[in-house]
């Protein structure tokens, strides 16, 4: 008998949850939950069946896309180096030189401490990405660091001063079979290109995404920030479709032995997990 109040409490909690989530078919109370949801004023128009049907008109980007950073398509020129402002040019030159003489040695950033890369670096990671289409939205799920990008394609404008975030705030529109994505509000401490840390809060990233072959996705990215670049910097990346792959879970903090110390030096821990 002592347990009765707890049972009652959890039943009430379950009912409250069912009402909140408005889940369909979630047990005997689903009907009343639906009624409650129907009575609540809608904050935004609910996508109807035709909005979902319209998604079928979009190009087929299903499957999982692996960055093909190793293989530049035959005939494609190597990318032009970025034209940098005096504030950034010497740092980048030093980075390039070190990279040439001692590959990998000097790549040190907070990413080693499991802080995810910001845009556009988040799209240049070694592991695959996938695209999800829903009415008014394209969602990009990036395996590395389990990053999600939400691109609003419902016609809403970019906010004037979005709160800064790693992936920024993105809106997109379709030009034929090309998705054009505009992003601002990217955290200024992130890397606009490899080898440079930091940029202004006005940095703008434009991505043009389309299929360049039936199973090859081409993304042309332009990064515009006058404090870093003399002129907007454009580069192109390709992704190979794997219809049979699945995006894997990627929790960087699971077992990370690498780190960057407070002086920016790379480190490596040989500590075993507690209890072993």
């Amino acid at each position: 008998m002592k347990r009765a109040p707890i049972v009652l409490a959890s039943t009430v909690a379950a009912l409250a949850l069912a009402a909140l989530c408005g889940c369909n078919g979630a047990g005997p109370n689903a009907g009343s939950a639906q009624k409650d949801a129907a009575a609540a004023p809608a904050a935004a128009p609910t996508p109807n069946a035709s909005a979902y049907a319209d998604l079928a008109k979009l190009p087929d980007w299903s499957g999982v896309w692996e960055p093909t950073r190793m293989a530049r398509p035959a005939g494609e020129k190597p990318p032009e180096p970025p034209k940098l402002t005096p504030a950034y040019a010497p740092k980048y030159a030093a980075y390039q030189e070190k990279n040439r003489t001692t590959p990998g040695i000097n790549f040190v950033s907070n990413v080693a401490n499991c802080v995810p890369a910001g845009l556009p670096g988040s799209m240049q990671q070694p592991y695959p990405i996938e695209f999800l289409f829903t009415p008014g939205r394209v969602t990009i799920a990036i395996e590395t660091y389990s990053v999600v990008r939400r691109i609003y394609t419902d016609g809403s404008p970019l906010p004037a001063e979005p709160d800064p975030s790693y992936q920024g705030t993105s809106v997109g529109h379709w030009e034929g079979d090309t998705l054009v994505v505009e992003t601002t509000g990217i955290l200024p401490e992130t890397a606009p290109i490899n080898g440079i840390l930091g940029h202004s809060d006005k940095m703008r990233v434009t991505e043009r995404i389309h299929l360049s072959a039936p199973d090859v996705l081409e993304i042309t990215t332009t990064v515009d920030d006058p404090t870093v670049f003399v002129e907007p910097y454009t580069f192109t990346a390709h992704y190979q479709r794997h219809r049979d792959w699945k995006i894997m879970e990627y929790v960087c903090a699971q077992n990370n032995h690498d780190f960057v110390d407070e002086k920016g030096n790379p480190g490596f821990s040989l500590e075993r997990k507690p209890g072993e």
Binding site: N99, E143, D258
Partner: protein, 126 residues
Amino acid sequence: MFRPLLWAVALGAIGAAASAHHSTAMFEWGKEKTVDGTVDKWEWTQPHTFLWVMVPRKSGKVEQYGFEGMSPSWLGRRGWGLKSISRGDKVKLVYYPLRDGRNGGFYVRVTLPDGRTLEALPQRQP
């Protein structure tokens, strides 16, 4: 995980903004060393797999080595898995050693008791 910068330099294929998880500065990258030992633990984890190996010394003492390797994201799509290596397996490991001399490094090839060899670097894939 994989070493995009190294690939990039080797193949000249990188454009911009490629980001590695971390530097390879801790390892003598490219300098192969070999060790024989017994697997104490195989960790099939992100952002790296990890292999703990007990290595007998000539003195009779057994020392623990720790080896980082590529991630499940990379190895998992090339036939490796949680069951690829077991505790107690006698393995021969080729690795890039830690610069500071501690027992460990980055494993690049593992030969298992049944003679199978697991190649663990992108550059070595057929």
